[in-house]
């Protein structure tokens, strides 16, 4: 370790030497980031799909949307901080509870809007064909609501990926860890690389979901 690299004399915005020698470290952060995202989205879907279906046709609609809507206005930084004494520092639970909550709001609104948009005559036709309520829901209403749900999923994904960087404040962060390191050590490279990767990850996920939507909904392709 006798070689001194005096990187501080010239600290380029991206030091490719640092990047190439830290690939595993960067990849670990990306992995953590992806895992947190997948958990937040999966749990968000699992909660919002049944909840949205139940709320859409009942009086629960306003209170449910209202509750998650109120939750949504609370800054994520505060939620992460406040959960620490209950669910621990640097734990997945502390990070995920707010993330899942925000996703549920986005998704549930889109589930409800999507189901609302199913034309009345389609429902009538399905009833007339003998579909029972559950079958009608699964085979007629949900597929027609899918474009709206996909749109919500895309927004939720991009939003989640950005919010995860903030969990660096509670000891996690995924790519946010590198941003934090860059800040505290006055070091450009981890900061810039992490920001760029976060953007790339979000755009990639958005494109992939758009592709998934095209695949899943051949009849809904426009443009």
């Amino acid at each position: 370790m006798a070689a001194r690299l005096f990187l501080d004399e010239v600290d380029p915005w991206i030091n490719w030497g640092w990047v190439s020698s830290h690939i595993p470290y960067i990849w670990d952060a990306v992995q953590q980031h992806i895992v947190l995202t997948v958990i937040a989205l999966a749990a968000g879907l699992v909660i919002s799909l049944p909840l949205g279906v139940a709320a859409h046709r009942s009086i629960l609609r306003l209170p449910v949307v209202g509750f998650f809507g109120a939750f949504y206005t609370i800054p994520s930084l505060a939620l992460f901080a406040v959960l620490v004494p209950f669910t621990g520092i640097a734990t997945t639970t502390t990070a995920e509870i707010p993330l899942i909550g925000y996703n549920v709001l986005i998704l549930i609104r889109n589930v409800i809007v999507g189901l609302d948009a199913v034309p009345r005559d389609v429902l009538d036709a399905a009833d007339g064909m003998g579909y029972r309520p559950l079958a009608r829901l699964l085979r007629v209403e949900m597929p027609l609501a899918l474009p709206s749900i996909f749109a919500g999923l895309r927004v939720a994904t991009v939003s989640t990926i950005g919010l995860i960087t903030i969990t660096a404040v509670i000891g996690l962060g995924g790519l946010g860890q590198l941003i934090n390191q860059g800040l505290q050590e006055s070091f450009h490279s981890p900061l810039v690389v992490a920001t760029a990767l976060s953007i790339a990850l979000a755009l990639f996920a958005d494109l992939a979901l758009a592709g998934g939507q095209r695949m899943a909904l051949p009849w809904a392709r426009s443009r």
Binding site: V30, V35, G88, Q181, E185, A208, R221
Partner: protein, 307 residues
């Protein structure tokens, strides 16, 4: 149109496969097996030196057959202490005097005598199921720095010099400085310095240095083992009334994890550490942007720890 669809489809499938692979592949490998002596979770505070120390402890333990989980940059003592009390972590590199005054809620028991301080610290820790091991000779305590310009303007050498001009100056440091005994309250009580105001920044990081540089604050909290103060033209004022006490590096560990073997390993690391070396190690991270784990490894190798 069809080509575009096919591209999108491939992209989606590729993405799905990638995401699933990553999600599955990153599940933690099962720890231990017959060869591991046990798992220890080592944490560090949110500054570089703590990461280096935590890495030194962790790597020494790993070399001796333990499985180590690292939770570095976990946060401040206000967050790390509850974590060790609850068992979420097993070990962190503490500082004798500051830890004592934390666990005794600022009772003022710490002194310049490191042995006495460590003893009182254990008296506070043991009822919590915790223990402080043998303190190192290496010391890192709070220090207060000014820019050369400020030093010359008010002709400052020691902290007592600030007493008469405190109301013209802004103090900067981490948010908890406003309430910690070795920080702002201590400066008021011991030195009679009443600052014009306090600006909440970070723990001896980039924000504090930037604030000193552009005169947003005139006095900033730094650490006595910082390596970049000279380079940045910052001058530490002498602690002539000994507000800061024996802040020797000391492992704080859960008694359940503190077997004789573990204690011996950690003691060996600490006994080899001096303040001068700590400053050098900090320099490698703070100035040269080397990684704490690499710096720690080099230190252990240098002291033939791995032989």
């Amino acid at each position: 149109m069809i080509r575009k669809t096919r591209t999108f489809s491939l992209l989606t499938v590729a993405a799905l496969v990638a995401f699933v692979a990553v999600a599955c592949g990153s599940s933690p490998t099962p720890s231990g097996g017959s060869s591991s002596k046990g798992t220890i979770t080592v944490a560090g505070f949110d500054f570089a030196e703590s990461s280096i120390l935590a890495q030194m402890y962790g790597q020494a333990l790993e070399h001796n057959g333990y499985t180590v989980n690292y939770k570095l940059r976990l946060g401040k003592r206000e967050v790390v202490a509850p974590a060790i009390k609850s068992g979420q972590i097993d070990l962190y590199p503490g500082y004798a005097a500051t830890d004592l005054e934390y666990y005794n809620s600022g009772a003022g028991e710490a002194s310049g005598d490191v042995a006495a301080t460590a003893q009182k610290l254990n008296a506070r820790l043991n009822p919590l199921g915790l223990e402080a091991l043998t303190p190192s000779g290496a010391v890192d305590q709070n220090a207060f720095a000014v820019t050369k310009a400020t030093q010359q303007k008010y002709n400052l050498t020691k902290l007592s010099d600030l007493a008469s001009i405190g109301d013209q100056l802004v103090l900067g440091g981490p948010p908890e400085c406003a309430s910690r005994p070795f920080c702002q309250p201590g400066l008021e009580k011991t030195y009679g310095i009443h600052f014009k105001s306090f600006k909440s920044l970070d723990t001896d990081g980039a924000l504090t240095r930037a604030a000193l540089a552009n005169n947003t604050i005139q006095v900033g909290l730094v650490f006595s083992s910082d390596s970049d103060l000279n380079k940045l033209g910052l001058v530490v004022l002498q602690d002539d009334k000994h507000l800061e006490n024996a802040d020797n590096v000391v492992p704080i560990i859960r008694q359940k994890a503190a077997t004789a073997d573990v204690k011996a390993i950690l003691d060996k690391v600490d006994s080899n550490l001096t303040t001068a070396q700590l400053i050098t190690l900090n320099g490698q991270v703070e100035l040269n942007h080397q990684d704490p784990d690499a710096v720690a490894r080099a230190f252990l190798q240098q002291h033939n720890y791995f032989s």
